[in-house]
């Protein structure tokens, strides 16, 4: 099963117990973080910068394009609207210039003009009225009875006298259809002025705007300067209502602005003030609609960028983790080798010290031995002391103690190994037979089964027979001590490669606790002190194996048994070992 635990690098939980100035050099987690941090930063910052820059440039150009397009639409539409109004105005101007005031004052004549205009403008004109300089409508033709109405007090009348032309706001006329009023004034030869006033249907104006092919949610409409809608808008209010957007500021030219509505929508608003009218043309498009293609591009760009970043991060993580793992393992191995060397040095020093001590003690010990022996002899052989049992037992004790000391110094000296290695041809099968021959009685007595398996690929090796005998004697003795009646001891020898053979000595005895395993090769370390163990057996064994150029390792499980793994070279070097 896949699990993230498997991904955790070896060094992650490494705790270096050491202190000192170089401790940080072994903080692999910190090393890893630094490496990942730097790599990610230096790789991703340029990528992100390029991505953001590209994003901004593309966005700006898209927006510029959008603004320009909107401006074009507004300009064209303004021209259409202006033309629409100019066309109606020009028609009225043509009438006042080509006809006399008297003609126009006749309702029948006026009716004819209206009919002509309706034909020419597709029924765009609703009515016509002629108003004299006093503001009284002297002639009218149309659906209402407005003859004689007095306009003199009204604002539009003043304006038309002032400017010569007037275009009104849109208003809802009869049948609730929006209209606007266009009026032109004309000066007669006698200096008096009259006004021709027409009501115009805005249906055609509306169609100019609705014919624009805008995007789905775009809308074009006209407002007056107070923000009252003059034509239908799809989303920003109905005719004669106030527009939901703010009224844009006056500008003689076409403008495009970005507006954010109260509910957070972004709109592109293009507008133009239409000269000589109260009208402002607006083209409004939601920005999201227009930017749609850009958003798609942006999504692809972002996805591509994220994928890139992810790939980069995965690559960095795996490379850094792999490398730090390698460093960690290398450090670990080196450290283990250093520890081993240190340990071996310590052992050698202890060995030399032990040998020195033992040798120095041995001579006075021998003297004590002989002196006490002589006393004993005298007691035994001369009658005057022979019956003094107390003295005899005292001397006995001295001799026994000396014997014990002698045993210790002897083992110590063995440990110090001051005899040269003497190399000869050794057949492992024969060697083991010899050793087991010595121990056969004991194993029989203790009910221990010994299985020896020497593989057919085991060559005759060149080594020190005496030392090997001692090695196996020590190990087999140890195994016996660990086992009870019915124990099984397996000894397996096999060729490992062209330079080494492997020997496994495995018992099914009581095992060695983990906390003791590291110390069993130290001299004087014994768990059998009370039973007379000197704590030198395994340390001697270990040093003998090393002396022969081999290695000795142990693993053990409480209650299951202990296994010694010995590796011996096919050819031991005949090295001179220092003599004490």
């Amino acid at each position: 099963m896949f699990s993230f635990r498997n991904l955790k690098p070896y060094f992650w939980d490494h705790k270096d117990p050491g202190t000192g100035p170089f401790k940080h050099l072994f903080d692999y987690r910190r090393m890893w973080k630094l490496a990942v941090g730097f790599s990610v930063t230096f790789v991703l910052v340029p990528v992100l910068c390029a991505g953001i820059f590209d994003f901004m440039v593309t966005k700006t150009s898209m927006e510029g394009e959008l603004f320009q397009r909107t401006a074009r639409v507004v300009s064209n539409t303004r021209r259409s609207v202006t033309f629409f109004l100019a066309k109606h105005r020009s028609a009225l101007k043509f009438i006042v210039r080509s006809s006399s005031f008297e003609d126009l004052s006749k309702p029948l004549q006026l009716y004819r003009y209206l009919e002509d205009l309706r034909v020419a403008f597709h029924e765009g004109f609703i009515d016509l009225g002629v108003i004299d300089s006093a503001g009284i409508q002297i002639a009218y033709t149309g659906p209402f009875k407005l003859e004689g109405v007095d306009y003199s007090g009204q604002q539009w009348f003043k304006e038309v006298l002032l400017h010569g032309v007037y275009v009104s706001d849109v208003f809802l006329g009869y049948r609730h259809v929006p209209h606007l009023v266009i009026a032109v004034s004309h000066e007669l030869q006698d200096g008096s002025v009259y006004v021709l006033r027409a009501t115009v249907d805005t249906v055609q104006l509306n169609s100019v705007l609705t014919d624009l092919q805008l995007t789905r949610r775009g809308s074009a409409f006209i407002i007056n300067r107070n923000g009252i809608l003059q034509t239908e808008s799809r989303y920003y209010g109905k005719v004669m209502e106030r527009m939901s957007l703010p009224v844009p500021k006056y500008s003689a030219r076409t403008q495009v602005k970005e507006v954010t509505t109260d509910d957070g929508k972004q709109l592109i608003v293009g507008y133009a003030y239409i000269e000589n009218t109260p009208f402002i043309l607006l083209v409004v498009k939601p920005k999201d609609d227009l930017m749609g293609p850009w958003y798609n591009t942006r999504t692809i760009l972002l996805a591509f960028l994220s994928m890139n970043i992810m790939v980069v991060i995965i690559v960095i993580l795996s490379v850094v983790t792999h490398l730090i793992n390698k460093i960690y393992l290398a450090d670990d191995k080196r450290l283990a080798a250093m520890h081993k060397l240190e340990h071996e040095n310590k052992m050698a020093s202890i060995g030399r010290l032990a040998a020195g001590v033992a040798h120095e003690i041995n001579n006075p010990l021998s003297i004590i031995n002989e002196k006490a022996g002589l006393i004993q002899d005298m007691f035994v052989l001369k009658e005057m002391y022979a019956k003094d049992e107390k003295l005899l037992s005292l001397v006995d004790w001295i001799l026994k103690a000396v014997e014990r000391c002698g045993a210790i110094t002897m083992r110590l000296l063995s440990f110090a190994r001051h005899i040269d290695v003497s190399i000869e041809q050794v057949n492992m099968q024969e060697l083991l037979d010899e050793v087991l021959g010595l121990l056969g009685k004991e194993s029989e007595y203790r009910g221990i089964t010994i299985n020896v398996d020497v593989g057919s690929n085991v060559p005759v090796i060149e080594s020190d027979r005496g030392k090997l005998q001692q090695v196996f004697l020590n190990m087999i003795n140890n195994a016996f001590a660990a086992m009870n009646k019915g124990g099984i001891l397996n000894i397996k020898v096999e060729g490992l490669n062209s330079t080494f053979i492997s020997i496994i000595v495995a018992d099914n005895g009581c095992g060695i606790p983990q906390e003791n395993l590291d110390r069993i090769f130290e001299p004087f370390y014994s768990t059998k002190k009370k039973e007379g163990g000197t704590g030198l057996g395994l340390s001697i064994t270990s040093s003998l194996v090393h002396e022969l150029g081999g290695t000795l390792e142990v693993d053990s499980k409480i209650g299951k048994g202990t296994t010694f793994h010995i590796k011996l070279p096919l050819k031991s070097k005949n090295k001179q070992v220092e003599t004490l």
Binding site: H359, K371, G406, S414, Q469
Partner: protein, 119 residues
């Protein structure tokens, strides 16, 4: 039976000589190789008990010189260097030479002396 004891420790060698005398051996002792060689000039010995490690002349050197003078002489070596324990000594004990480890057990020494001279 005449025994020559050679060891650089005078206290050891003199006491050991006395003990062997008590057991009926005729014993002379020397504390250097030269001293021993001098004694051999004036007397004949059946067995020489030599310490392996002595200043000036080691036990084996001395043995060679003594053997040159008295080919019939038997040798027992004493060693304070217990490393010859166990098997090495077991292997070597088959010949005319014996290795004994210090501190000595007097009974073992006596037994060996008898064995050596019995051959």
């Amino acid at each position: 039976m005449k025994v020559l004891l050679v060891d650089d420790e005078e206290q050891l060698v003199s006491t050991l000589a006395e003990r062997l005398s008590l057991r009926g051996f005729e014993v002379s002792w020397a504390i250097t190789g030269l001293d021993a060689l001098a004694q051999v000039e004036i007397d004949t010995f059946n067995v020489a008990v030599l310490d392996m490690k002595m200043p000036l002349m080691s036990g084996s050197e001395l043995k060679n010189k003594l053997q040159a003078k008295c080919p019939a002489m038997k040798f027992i070596f004493l060693t304070g260097h217990g490393s010859e324990a166990d098997f090495k000594s077991a292997a070597l004990n088959t010949g005319e030479e014996y290795y004994l480890i210090k501190p000595l057990n007097i009974d073992v020494l006596v037994q060996k002396l008898r064995e050596v001279t019995a051959i």
